[in-house]
Symmetry: C2
Subunit: 345 residues, 2 copies
């Protein structure tokens, strides 16, 4: 059986802030059956993950594209692979059958042909499928591994999280509170700041757009200094955090969204602070911490069942909403994990 | 008995590159006896350590001055404490007697009154006293701890060292070679580069002043990338090293001499590289690694006895030479550990 498959692609490489007009919805004739002898699996998309890092794959060149297979450049006109949850509609692989719920790399499209070994059967564990694109998937693991493994927190330490209403930041703050740290966060709107303080119970939060001097702002919010900075933004915020860091402070660099769309923008922290305060700045990717996945899932699922973690999701409807959903990440439109639901089963 | 004690001081705070005219030799009447009931020790200086970090103490303000007691600001007109080796000329402390050789914090002067517990008796172990100001003292420990503890090297890794003819850099390179790493270094003159290649046997070395594009230079010298960068200079060199770093690369930030005399100058490494290549940038100070001192001394003394480590010292004569010796550090005048010999016993 054949259908028309719609998928999102870029018209050309994107080297600055992305616009919706940089994207195109393409269509193709798509077979819903698997050739005999192939172990392919045909997956119908249900929920797709919308992540800022994809912008680095859309550039004509970024050094990041040479690092790992997940960061390889996206070719204009071709389908864009992304994490998602879907339903098997045809399978040539013995481990999968029609109707199975799966998670893994599919595409920003309605249907994807996946090599059987490159997808996982999904156990919902009683949670909505969208959780398995965000909080119980790589966003969650990034927060968990980044906080516990990279930041190596001690109870009572003072934690600063930027972009704290984003997919990873809100969870880092929640893990840090549950662990016994004090947490002050920043975000880019009054509404987000209220959410962080009132719903998530962080010790404090501020709107960085209302601050003219980030270094002074952090001095106000951290009169006793910062022990851990979980960096999602880079640039001036990283500089201000380093200036306010305590001795033996740790910076986990998860992402630097403010530098993604402006290649001339780089954090220039005071290196005398780095030396004299013996600060460690460490970049990390969740893919290096898959050994923690089982721990992460059981811990997080328990917290969810006990109501100790709040899930902040921002779900748009339909494949056509992907360009707006993605470009909105760079305008700070999303509150929580950005997800697009492709079909309502 | 009283003598005239000469000592070096700064006339006023120094906020840029230091000039000899910023310094002054002062004299004072100085008693060579100890008051009864005091546990003070009067030490006559023999060899004094001349270190770039002192410039950060000479500034009217540097955040570094708030970090550790060793980095506290220097008051114009007052004596400047520094590491050195000296001879006890009078003692009120039961552990010390006239004639003892001691090492520790004395001052850039001919004589110092030291509280007895704040100095150590020195066992020369068959080495010249100057070694106990450099290679067998904090410069050596900095290289040893920085390389083995902070860089966590593996055999065969590719190591880059900047300011490699300096007190710490030359030793890092030598430890790295002995450990089984390949080592490429840079320095600021043809003569230094020859020394690094020919006498110290590094795999390669280059004069950074002859390179117009440091990133390209490092690409030439490290076609397979850098695993470890031991940073003594900061700024553009740190940026170029990060750009050439391999996945899981480590940067040990020992010092950033190019940033010391220009507060507007900061390294602005590409943070996308830091994230995607999972680079760790870690500042450190040797004082946090005193637990390694015994290991460091026994390992280094063995290498010295077996002729496996070369000692590169640059010794000036006389207290009056201190201002030139110190300011020369920032012009790259020194080749190896800069020491001033105060008296020839």
């Amino acid at each position: 059986m054949e259908v028309i498959n719609k998928y999102v692609t870029i018209k050309c490489h994107i080297n600055g802030a992305p616009n919706e007009s940089d994207f195109e919805i393409k269509t193709e004739t798509f077979s819903l059956s698997v050739e005999s002898g192939s172990n392919n699996v045909v997956v119908k998309s249900l929920y797709l993950s919308i992540d800022p890092y994809q912008i680095n794959r859309m550039k004509s060149y970024s050094s990041s594209q040479n690092t790992i297979s997940q960061a390889v450049g996206i070719v204009p006109g071709e389908a864009i692979d992304a994490s998602g949850v879907g339903r098997v509609v045809a399978s040539g692989h013995p481990d999968f059958e029609r109707g199975d719920l799966v998670s893994g790399k599919i595409s920003w499209g309605e249907y994807t042909i996946v090599k059987g070994a490159n997808i996982d059967k999904l156990d919902l564990m009683g949670f909505p499928p969208s959780y398995h694109v965000g909080i119980l998937a790589l966003s969650g693991l990034t927060a968990y591994a980044g906080f516990f493994e990279v930041c190596k927190p001690k109870k009572g330490e003072k934690v600063f999280v930027s972009a704290a209403s984003g997919s990873v930041g809100n969870l880092v703050g929640q893990y840090a509170k549950l662990f016994g740290c004090s947490v002050v966060c920043c975000a880019g709107s009054k509404q987000k700041v209220e959410l962080l303080k009132e719903k998530l119970g962080f010790d404090d939060a501020f709107n960085y757009k209302e601050e003219t001097d980030l270094e002074s702002a952090l001095k106000r919010y951290f009169p006793d200094g910062i022990d851990i900075y979980f960096d999602n933004v880079g640039a001036e915020m990283l500089e201000a955090a380093v200036a306010n860091m305590n001795a033996f402070g740790r910076v986990a660099v998860c992402g630097v969204i403010s530098e993604y769309t402006d290649t001339a923008k780089h954090a220039a922290p005071n290196m005398l602070d780095v030396v004299y305060k013996r600060i460690t700045v460490r970049g990390f990717l969740c893919i290096d911490h898959m050994n923690l996945f089982a721990d992460f899932i059981s811990t997080t699922a328990n917290h969810l069942r006990n109501g100790k973690i709040h899930v902040i999701e921002d779900i748009s409807q339909g494949l056509e909403s992907i360009p707006a959903a993605f470009t909105g990440l760079f305008r700070g439109d999303n509150v929580g994990k950005k997800i697009v639901q492709i079909i309502d089963e």
